[in-house]
């Protein structure tokens, strides 16, 4: 039996003005468990808290009910006061007789009556309260960053600079990501590689950062503060400890027909390759699908000529297992496939390219050495048409319903760069809306129009038709002039929608991090927790969470890093004790609860059970208290009522219902 003390606050006249507090005190004195009841003008004041402490000591109270303002206001205050007075801080219930009573009712009779009922409900709940102890779990002082693009690099650098070890796992042979493929960056037009490579080098040289390239996350177990991750290091067939990066193997490799991933397939590379000149690490990998040695068994030239003896055809994939306290996901994006957009003739003409392909064409290290030329005949284009929103803002099932966010700006950049370098080239941009919210963004776009005379046409392109003479007939509309336009172009550039890298699905499943219908990882709160996944200990960096440009990506990467550092800085995690708990004697092991758990906090174990003399092995649900956030979804899904929520148990809520309906 509880020994309950009830403390009714006047809150000056805020409560006492509409609620007869003296009558409330008298009315609840006879409630079950109530040993002591009193009122005081300001319970939350120092004096009020002392009053509570005194009563706890004097009457040997086991729990207290405070009838005052909203628990959202002072629950923490009174919990602390109770703990200081020597009782468990979870043996405190608040009856909200201010916001939910005195402030909304004018009639004292009505207000008092309601206050009594609310107090009774709190007392009924407290009668079923049990002391709860926050749990503790360890924090491994190391972070994992999945993805080695600018987002991953930035997060890793920030975490490492704070003094924690970081591992970066990157699936391609080099870090650098999409940004390494870009030529110039808006709105300042500085060269992408010039600002990115120093960061790559810094990450590679950082004593706290460990980079696993050509590697993938294979398995994740554990939970916040204590993840265990299997990483598959794919066989490079080149020993990175021996390789000097001289590049001779790539030069001599006889198999040079493989499409270059880095150049978006616009040209080819050798079978043994580094994706680009500034690759980090500067250690090539052998692509076994194209390597003659692996295909036919004959060749072996690279091994023969390698002075360092680094080439090793026998190398095997290696799985390493590491422990982490925090995980940052930075898996980035790719452009969508255009096979459903026949009207733009992308698959029919080499001169219809995506914007990312144009980046490579414009880049000095690209397939055309930076000369703007048509891929079909190498001629310089005189008329270029840009088409916006290709696959973005499409709700017809062919593309993506969202705005890809970066296209308006990079198209302005492309248009401007072309007009700058090739002033006799005409550039037309077909747009639906030009969206330029960002520092110096609209000014940038206006420069394209005002200084560089880029022809912006409000309207869309309906069809691109390759002509026998090799030109492209573009049929579009100008909605301002209300005219249909037919124009000849030498090159068409499609602002192709971006989507999360397909690998993210698998990673999200492993992390039990939720993902939306577009494969973007979901943040914990759209406004207030934008870089945290609902899965504790998992943070989101860059485009895996939603479309972003470089500055935004870097900002978010930093934010994700700070959140990870905040976690790693703790020696122990205290866990919210209001978590779900399965009664193993009642549990059917049916898995229903795990299906609704947003945190992956429920697992199943076969354990030996003694159920009133029946000894048997049963499959039962086990809640990981470090992961459970206490929403209670499982408690309702559970058919047998085995799952219950501490602090909001079934019986407690029913007791409140009963008290209110009495």
């Amino acid at each position: 039996m509880q020994r309950i003390g009830v403390f009714v606050c006047h809150c000056g006249s805020n409560i006492a003005g509409t609620v007869d507090v003296k009558r409330v005190v008298e009315a609840i004195r006879t409630e079950p468990g109530v040993i002591h009841a009193e009122d005081y003008p300001y319970m939350c004041s120092e004096a009020g808290q002392q009053l509570i402490a005194k009563a706890i000591e004097e009457h040997k109270l086991t729990g207290i009910v405070v009838c005052s303002c909203s628990p959202r206001m002072h629950e923490a205050t009174f919990r602390k006061a109770a703990a200081n007075a020597g009782i468990n801080s979870f043996m405190v219930e608040i009856a909200n007789i201010r916001e939910h009573c005195s402030w909304i009712h004018k009639d004292v009779e009505e207000g008092t009556e309601k206050a009594v009922i609310l107090a009774r409900a709190a007392i009924a709940k407290l009668n079923l309260d049990t002391p709860l102890q926050p749990g503790e779990s360890r924090v491994v002082k190391r972070a994992l960053v999945i993805g080695g693009g600018i987002a991953g690099i930035q997060s890793a650098l920030d975490i490492a600079d704070a003094g924690y070890e970081v591992d970066i796992v990157e699936k391609t042979p080099s870090i650098g990501g999409r940004m390494s493929q870009l030529d110039k960056t808006f709105p300042t037009l500085d060269c992408s590689a010039c600002i990115l490579t120093p960061k790559m080098v810094e990450a590679a040289a950082h004593e706290k950062i460990n980079i696993y390239t050509y590697s993938e996350v294979e398995k994740v177990s554990g939970f916040v503060g204590d993840f265990k991750v299997d990483i598959r290091k794919k066989a490079r067939y080149v020993d990175s400890t021996k390789c000097t990066g001289c590049g001779l193997c790539q030069e001599k490799c006889p198999s040079k027909k493989a499409p270059s991933e880095f150049n978006r397939g616009l040209n080819t590379r050798s079978a043994i390759y580094t994706p680009f000149a500034q690759a980090i690490p500067n250690v090539p990998v052998i692509d076994t699908e194209n390597c003659l040695k692996f295909k036919t068994g004959k060749c072996g030239i690279c091994q023969k000529i390698c002075a360092a003896g680094a080439v090793d055809y026998e190398q095997q994939d290696e799985i390493i297992t590491r422990e982490y306290g925090a995980i940052v996901v930075a898996t980035g994006f790719d452009t969508i496939k255009l096979d459903k957009y026949d009207e733009y003739a992308y698959s029919q003409s080499k001169d219809v390219v995506t914007s990312l392909e144009l980046e490579r064409i414009m880049n000095a290290a690209g397939p055309t050495k930076g000369h703007l030329e048509r891929l079909s005949d190498g001629k310089a284009p005189k008329n270029i048409v840009f088409i916006q929103c290709v696959g973005s803002r499409c709700s017809d099932g062919r593309g993506k319903s969202y705005c890809s966010k970066i296209c308006c700006m990079y198209t302005a950049k492309h248009a401007m760069l072309i007009r700058d370098k090739y002033p006799d080239t005409n550039v037309t941009v077909f747009y639906i809306d030009v969206r330029t919210p960002g520092k110096n963004f609209d000014e940038f776009y206006r420069r394209a129009v005002e200084d560089y005379h880029v022809n912006y046409v409000k309207g869309q392109v309906g069809k691109v038709m390759p002509q026998p003479d090799g030109s492209l007939l573009v049929q579009g509309v100008d909605l301002i002039d209300n005219k249909q336009i037919k124009m000849n172009a030498d090159m068409v550039v499609l602002a192709t929608a971006i989507e999360p890298d397909p690998s993210v699905r698998n990673i999200a499943t492993m992390l039990t991090a939720s993902i939306d219908t577009n494969n973007f990882l979901t943040e914990s709160h759209a406004k207030l927790r934008p870089v945290e996944s609902p899965t504790a200990g998992v943070f989101l960096s860059g485009v895996c969470q939603g479309p972003k440009d470089i500055p935004e990506t870097v900002a978010q990467a930093g934010a994700a890093a700070v959140k990870a550092i905040g976690l790693l800085a703790k020696d122990k995690l205290t866990t919210n004790p209001c978590t779900a708990q399965a009664d193993i004697l009642l549990c059917n092991g049916c898995s229903t609860c795990a299906n609704v758990c947003p945190y992956g906090a429920i697992s199943y174990e076969n354990i030996q059970i003694n159920d009133h003399g029946i000894r048997e092995e049963r499959r039962v649900a086990v809640v990981n208290n470090a992961l459970c956030q206490g929403c209670g979804a499982c408690t309702v899904a559970c058919p047998s009522g085995a799952m219950d929520l501490q602090g909001f148990s079934n019986r407690q809520i029913l007791a409140e219902v009963d008290a209110i309906c009495r």
Binding site: E343, C389, R393, C394, S395, D396, G397, R398, G399, F430, I432, K458, G459, Q460, V461, G462, K463, Q475, G476, V477, L479, N482, Q484
Partner: protein, 128 residues
Amino acid sequence: MHANNQAEKIKEISGVNPYKCMKCGKCSASCPSYNEMDIKPHQFVSYVINDDVEALVESKSLWKCLSCFACVERCPRNVEPGKLVDAARQLVVRQRGMDYLQADEIPELLDSELPQQLLVSAFRKYKR
């Protein structure tokens, strides 16, 4: 709501939700009859939104649309203005007490190169 019955009827017949339109103009960009039309395909949507069905019904466009459905095919928002045109036509057909073409109007419209079959099918289509 000041919905007049006609606009509602068009929405009902076509099953089109004109509010989904984001005014990109891809319908007009795709339309092979664009130059023949007085009200352009993308405008059909705003006419319906603005309840100005009268103008649509009286427009030349209604009878210039080839029903090739390029606009339906390519509309990124599933608004599908071609269906609005078709619905407006149906509205006309349903309402008209008289035939669209009177038999005596035909000779002057006749073109010697016009196939006979077209005439027959035109009669079928526009006769009440």
